[in-house]
Subunit: 219 residues, 2 copies
């Protein structure tokens, strides 16, 4: 399994989450592809294809064995020993992210946060120590951090991303509304809330127009 497609990974992460929520005690439970599809707002063919992609099989009789499936999902999604994460930018959004993750993804720990505001330094927020941004390279290297979360304002994002990459971080999750330019060999994913809201508003508008058109047609 060299490298799974991005979309498949998103769904696998979601499958794991809904399975855990639905089967607090998964032993001896089974799910059919159409059941998991329902839980994850997907469809049976997609579920079967995704599980096929990670080499997991069920039985036509009973479906997929939940506990085994969860183990397979863990094997794909988690590093056996866990991975350390750093967050840069302890503003409103950074704090929200810090409060969001603990407990949600047990194999990923946000072990350090960074900010440039001296007021925020050396405090502990949601269980995470805030360091001066000046010590970014030092702490990333010492704590063996392989994943970075960027929650700084847009103008600072590119520089922070480059420093994280240079310090050895290989995956970046960027919440800043600025596109990053990074050398190949570093993965990054943008969470573009502004674009997401623009898009949602656009489709809301189109749907409203369509609905009005139908209304008019009826008369």
């Amino acid at each position: 399994m060299t490298m799974l497609p991005e979309k498949t990974l998103s769904r696998l992460s979601l499958f794991r989450r809904v399975l855990l929520a639905t089967f607090p005690n998964p032993t001896d439970h089974h799910v059919f592809s159409h059941e998991l599809a329902m839980l994850a707002d997907s469809n049976p063919a997609q579920v079967r294809r995704d599980l096929m992609t990670i080499g997991f099989s069920g039985s036509p009789r009973k479906g997929y064995h939940v506990a085994r499936l969860l183990a397979s999902l863990d094997a794909v999604l988690d590093a056996p020993t866990g991975q350390n994460v750093a967050l840069v930018g302890v503003g409103q959004l950074g704090r929200a992210v810090l409060s969001y993750f603990p407990g949600r993804l047990p194999k990923l720990s946000i072990v350090a946060a960074f900010d440039s505001d001296p007021m925020k330094m050396d405090r502990v927020i949601y269980g995470c120590r805030v360091h001066s941004i000046d010590r970014l390279e030092e702490v990333v290297s010492r704590e063996q951090i392989s994943v970075g979360i960027i929650t700084v304002p847009a103008p600072a994002a590119q520089d922070v991303a480059r420093r994280l990459a240079r310090a050895g971080v290989l995956g970046l999750l960027n919440f800043a509304p600025a596109p990053l330019n990074l050398p190949a060999g570093v993965y990054f994913e943008n969470v573009d809330m502004a674009a997401a809201l623009d898009k949602t508003a656009y489709f809301a508008r189109i749907l409203a127009l369509n609905r009005d058109a139908m209304q008019r047609e009826k008369t």
Copy 2:
């Protein structure tokens, strides 16, 4: 132009943002597709295709006229009279979102927030009044709200989404880590931060493995 593809819309929103940031005074400026591609971390062919999709053309000589392009992007992305937005769930994440948007998307105003915690009600947070969740239907209808942002905990998301949809909201931006089941005719988009982080960590891990493999090959 019946309905633009989702991906195209995300990029158009980004194009507008980077153009505004790069050309504070756009009059008489021009951009080539490769320049805009650089700014948006895309590629020239994609930029040309996207602009073609919205029927905007440039000249081979000078490229795209920035002010005109911005006007075209506004025409596609914005409702002429603006759209009203409601946010449900004034927790840590909800507050971060409330503080994030004002000023960023001038045609979209978050005009109301809702929460079930009596402590939070009737306060004004980041310029937005917080109402009791009980008054959701009433306020959505009175304020003509067409877009909803869901920042409640996962177990409450489905119910909130259904209430918003029933009250007439046509587009939902869901930050809760729970998939929604909604009738057709309502658009929704999930911002799944947990899946995004899982994915980022996965690729960071794969990249580390690949890098180590190359290292070993060299010896």
